[in-house]
């Protein structure tokens, strides 16, 4: 995404907007990851604390999702610089 067509003042405001969005996105990632790892890992309700296995599952779930997300990000960046996605100019 190239915002160099905007003037200085606009770019400053856009930078602030991006920072705000990144924070929102981070919170959403957190919430999403908790949901996912809970749904996938916490299935033994014979105890009220996570079992050892469940705890390990949660760690791997989170690690894996973050690595996955990173890889998707790399491919996404490569592919979107080759094409104009519809909806953007």
């Amino acid at each position: 995404m190239d915002f160099s067509r905007f003037n200085q003042a606009e770019q400053a405001q856009i930078a602030a907007m991006i920072e705000h969005k990144q924070m929102k996105d981070f919170l959403r990632l957190y919430s999403n990851l908790v949901q996912r790892c809970f749904d996938d890992c916490a299935n033994d309700f014979t105890t009220k604390t996570l079992t050892g296995k469940e705890g390990e599952c949660v760690n791997k779930c989170a690690d894996k999702f973050l690595k996955h997300s990173e890889r998707v990000g790399s491919r996404f960046a490569e592919l979107s610089e080759n094409m104009q996605a519809p909806g953007s100019q």
Partner: protein, 74 residues
Amino acid sequence: MVNPQNIAMAEQELESVTDLFNRIAESCHTKCISTKYTQSDLTQGEAVCIDRCVSKFFEVNVKIGEKMQKMGQN
């Protein structure tokens, strides 16, 4: 001088790219990552699947875009 329309446009563009990314990440996780979580790292198979999944998603994106454009012309 700040043109609020420009800011709104930039925001919309950012929103749409972020949304696209999140949807691809979600879909490709469902399609490629086993929920048994046997290890922390991506397996070779998962890594390759992700690469192909993202690529295909973009292709579908383009195909649908072309179809919609044809629809708009009729």
